[in-house]
Amino acid sequence: MSRNADDHTVWQELLAGHALNALDPAEEAEMLAHLAGCADCRAELDEHALTAAHLAALADDESDTAPGWSDIRGGLFGEDAPVISIDRGRHRVSQRLLAAAAGVVVIAGAALATSQLLVSSGGDSHRVAVASCGTARPCSVIPLRSKDGVHRATVVVTDGVARVQPVAMSRAPRGRTYVLWQLPRGRAPVPLTEFVSASATSGSSPLSVPLSQTTAFAVSSERADIHPTSPTHVVAIGSV
């Protein structure tokens, strides 16, 4: 081991190379030996791993078709492995497991709801939004959902104007505000309007580009004193 233990920067540099799998074999071995005894480097490695995963996501071209499970499983279990049990099992077993996991989430959510005053409740607000659409003019309703699939807000677009109706969102904490974003196809997100609760102040704004050139709308939570150039804490998103 030739590294000077007093200068940890050397290890941090090696660690970044290690996280990218870019070290030469000798350095890699040195790094692995150091990692075994250095909690700081292990913690930073976890951070690097997450950052690297974002680079992976950046390269992820969804239009590039990936092999299905049936293509992959042959290499794992042998081409002759009977498939019949999977197909039969999948819906029963996996769905039941996932439902069980989802149940845990619902319970956790219910506990939170009692301490968080929801400014409006699900279906009603959405129906109001839909009703406000009217029938005379062209009108689009886009539900925005959080990552766990909960319907948080509804965006209504009429005559090129977007209006956001919170459905299940707590009031923005002090010093923060919600921002409605339009995500134009192939271009940077555009902030449309800000709002803090489901009150009459729920914002509306003309679209930055026509709906037909829009990928999605999103609501993010932002610091009230800063005008961000892209969404930071995304609360909900819905594709057009």
């Binding site: 990218l20 690297a52 680079l55 390269a59 969804e62």
Partner: protein
């Protein structure tokens, strides 16, 4: 769809909980659970491998190796991060290992600049979240200076070692190393608001 978040337990979300359930079943030998995990994360792993290897067949081999590792009792530790992060990490590792044995394919691989540009705008529907995160990563990458971006992308997408990068760019090896560290840290800082924080306010 892909979820990336810190595994610190404060923002345990539905997907992480489902992953935990599925992993437990995989450990018990449930192939349907492995299939469910594959359906979630396998395509992203495959596409990362394919980006690095520029070869569909090799990318499929790598993807098989990754899920075989998971099947055989992987060493994944949920305290250290999300399953998606771990899977992409070993995918990258295996793909880079393979590309170094496939030197002749290097010329066919995408250059780093193309790799950055080629991050396509995803389609509609449930890829909307994904597209948003990709936008954030892309914006964060743009925040880096060209010098920093270059060493990062050559290493990550190119699969080149730092020694090779030094030779290619004519930079001293020490400069490549320090730039890589700075690039990773800067990228993390720029991404920080979105890492593990999505949807905080809804909980």
């Amino acid at each position: 769809m892909l979820t990336l978040h810190n595994g610190d337990g404060r923002h345990v979300r539905a997907e992480a909980q489902e992953d935990a359930v599925l992993l437990r079943e995989v450990a018990r030998g449930s192939e349907p659970a492995l299939e469910a995990i594959y359906n979630r994360y396998g395509p992203a792993c495959y596409r990362l491998a394919r980006r690095i290897l520029a070869d569909a067949h090799l990318a499929e081999d790598v993807t098989q190796q990754v899920f075989l590792a998971l099947w055989k009792g992987s060493g994944y530790d949920p305290r250290r991060g999300a399953l998606s992060t771990w899977l992409l990490g070993i995918t990258h590792h295996k793909a880079v290992d393979m590309v170094r044995h496939e030197e002749r394919r290097r010329a066919e691989r995408l250059g780093p600049a193309q790799a950055e540009i080629a991050a396509a705008i995803p389609g509609p529907d449930d890829v909307a979240w994904e597209s948003l995160r990709a936008m954030q990563a892309r914006a964060a990458l743009r925040e880096l200076s060209g010098d920093h971006r270059e060493v990062l992308l050559l290493a990550y997408y190119g699969g080149f070692t730092q020694t090779e990068i030094a030779e290619m760019t004519g930079l001293p090896l020490g400069t490549v190393k320090s730039r890589t560290l700075h690039a990773m840290r800067r990228l993390r800082e720029t991404l920080a608001p979105s890492l593990g924080a999505e949807g905080d306010e809804t909980r």
